[in-house]
């Protein structure tokens, strides 16, 4: 168990370090990465001619005269202390601005995950139990469509149907609980469909195992066989998928927040990209990658808690 946790912890740290290198690289990967090219690519535009003052400022701010590893070391040292620099647009610390926006994304993503699981798991189980019936076919076809539907397009369909047609939910911004409905449904649809398909196939796989036959031979009620013997086993692979889905959800939140003008970190990222606010972009990317790594660490740990084969090693 401890070996497993340490291994996963080490992997997570590796990913976070890689994320920091990538984030650092956003600025320094620009072709040439001389002060002038960085200025042109990242801040003022390719056609502009940078002034002497701008060049001096950028060189000083990013220590471009120093060797690359030194720049990275200084940047990392500050980042670890929570100092991600100042936003070029707002002239305020990046960490502070992100702190203001992050809760909105956590709320949106958290509710969407909850909604998708609430839909996907019972439906997946039901489809597996009622395999090859009309209900199963309907569920599988809807899931197929939900997976293939681009979230931004689904968002507009929902807007057309609900907000404009019936005027139920607000179309944009944050105006209380009802503002959450359409973004959450949009985000949850794709993830829910993937989880549902996984739940169904996992359940079918488990129901054909020898230990289910053993349970049947004991004379258990069918409901007991499903709830006590099959479900727990069927959940295991689904847990991993939910963790991976969370990554798609972070990506999806960028789109959904843009469509619904939701004041989260995804919208902030996109706005910063277009405003060429590089420190802000770095902060958002670093936060998203770190969050994803931590969520997957949590998922792996809960997997270990659910599976005694990992919790207690093999006794020899």
């Amino acid at each position: 168990m401890w070996k497993f946790i340490l291994k996963r912890l080490a992997a997570t740290i590796l990913v976070v370090v890689a994320a920091s290198i990538l984030t650092f690289g956003i600025l320094h990967l620009t072709p040439g990465s001389t002060p002038v090219t960085i200025l042109k690519y990242a801040f003022i535009g390719l056609e502009e001619i940078p002034t002497e003052a701008e060049i001096t400022e950028i060189t000083e701010r990013y220590m471009l005269n120093e060797p690359l590893y030194k720049q990275y070391y200084c940047w990392l040292k500050q980042a670890v202390q929570g100092d991600l620099g100042d936003s070029c647009v707002y002239k305020l610390p990046v960490a502070e601005l992100i702190g203001l926006r992050f809760p909105a994304t956590v709320l949106l993503a958290g509710l969407s995950v909850a909604l998708s699981l609430l839909m996907a798991i019972p439906l997946g189980i039901l489809c597996a139990v009622k395999r090859n019936t009309f209900f199963d076919h309907l569920g599988r076809i809807s899931a197929l469509f939900a997976v293939a539907m681009p979230s931004f397009w689904l968002a507009y369909l929902l807007i057309i149907i609900f907000s404009l047609g019936f005027d139920f939910f607000p179309v944009a911004g944050f105006r209380g609980i009802s503002s959450l409905v359409l973004p959450c449904v949009t985000l949850a649809a794709g993830m829910g469909a993937v989880t549902m398909r996984m739940m169904r196939s996992s359940m079918l796989e488990v129901m054909s195992q020898d230990y289910i036959l053993t349970a049947r031979a004991k004379g258990l009620y069918e409901t007991g066989i499903i709830s006590r013997h099959a479900l727990k086993n069927a959940f295991l692979p689904v847990v991993t998928v939910v963790g991976l889905q969370f990554g798609h959800m972070l990506g999806g939140s960028v789109i959904v927040e843009t469509v619904f003008a939701w004041p989260g970190i995804g919208k902030l990222l996109i706005d910063s990209i277009f405003a060429k606010d590089i420190p802000m972009v770095q902060g958002c990317v670093l936060l998203m990658a770190t969050t994803y790594a931590l969520v997957n660490l949590l998922v792996d740990l809960s997997y270990a808690l659910m599976d005694p084969r990992i919790r207690y090693g093999r006794e020899s």
Partner: protein, 291 residues
């Protein structure tokens, strides 16, 4: 359970699945073929110029002249959807072939050679796979500047990892198989064994992955273009078209509806093709196969 019983059960599933599978495979490959034909023949079948602006005709609803209506700049939506098919397919083909060939090569070498190089490569693949792919792509695009070219480079850099990991796993099992052992005993060189004996056996799973990957790539590309990071105006691209129509969803929903539909059909077709190819290639599901 008795072997006979297991065999029977499997046999039944094989038969039922093979019938369903053949139908699905036929259907999805037919749809994919149509999509590809639309992309290839785009210049011939477009009723109007997809780029030229005509303010007199802006946001017209579908009509005989413009079957899908016109967009906010008076361009024929049908022509732009057709041109968008070409854009998406060409970009997806470039991304899949480069990342596929690169990933397969890395996987072959990593799996066959093993050792330090292998663990280094696979560790970096693991790290890359541990990123939300679209965020990774966005970070890369930021440093290259928005545009379709950046999207292609970014998605290529993101997607090779999947092939590398898949091929490596296949190679690890194939490496121990008898026919490879025999080839080695006969004194074949490593490169000959890799390309003559191992490569043909990893083609099938790679094809399956590529088909599923095209669906992914088309979606990622449209998402990035929708956000304004990909195709730039006046290029016709489905995601960008949906973005251009967003202010008009109340008055002119057709501007967003049709490119979205094209996007969905394409994604659906390629993922169905991938799924049915997987069933087709899976030896355990092949007809008549009994342990």
């Amino acid at each position: 359970m008795d072997a006979a019983l297991v065999a029977n059960k499997r046999n039944k599933e094989v038969v039922v699945r093979s019938v369903k599978r053949d139908k699905l495979l036929g259907f999805s490959s037919a749809v994919v073929l149509i999509i590809v034909l639309v992309g290839v023949l785009a210049p011939l079948i477009m009723p109007h110029d997809p780029i030229s602006v005509s303010f007199a005709d802006k946001v017209k609803p579908p009509s005989f002249q413009y079957p899908f209506g016109t967009d906010p700049l008076g361009r024929c939506v049908l022509s732009r959807v057709i041109q968008g098919t070409r854009t998406s397919l060409v970009a997806a083909a470039v991304i899949v072939s480069i990342s596929g060939v690169g990933g397969v090569l890395v996987g072959l070498i990593s799996g066959y050679k093993g050792g330090k190089a292998d663990s280094l490569i696979m560790r970096s693949v693991d790290v890359m796979l541990a990123f939300p792919s679209i965020i990774l792509a966005m970070a890369l695009i930021v440093s290259m500047g928005p545009g379709l070219g950046s999207v292609i480079v970014a998605l290529t850099l993101v997607h090779w990892t999947g092939y590398a990991r898949l091929v490596r796993a296949e190679v690890l099992t194939l490496k121990e198989s008898e026919f490879v052992e025999a080839a080695r005993a006969m004194g074949n060189s490593s490169s000959r064994i890799i390309f003559k004996y191992i490569l043909p056996n990893v083609i099938a799973p790679v094809m399956v992955m590529a088909s599923l990957d095209i669906a992914h790539i088309v979606l990622s590309m449209a998402s990035l273009s929708f956000l304004g990071l990909g195709a730039q105006p006046p290029e016709a691209e489905w995601g960008a078209m949906i973005n251009q129509g967003r202010e008009f969803i109340r008055t002119a929903p057709h501007v967003t509806l049709f490119p979205g539909l094209a996007l969905m059909v394409t994604i659906l077709a390629f993922s169905l093709l991938g799924d049915s190819l997987r069933d087709y290639f899976d030896p355990r599901l092949r007809e008549g196969y009994i342990e």
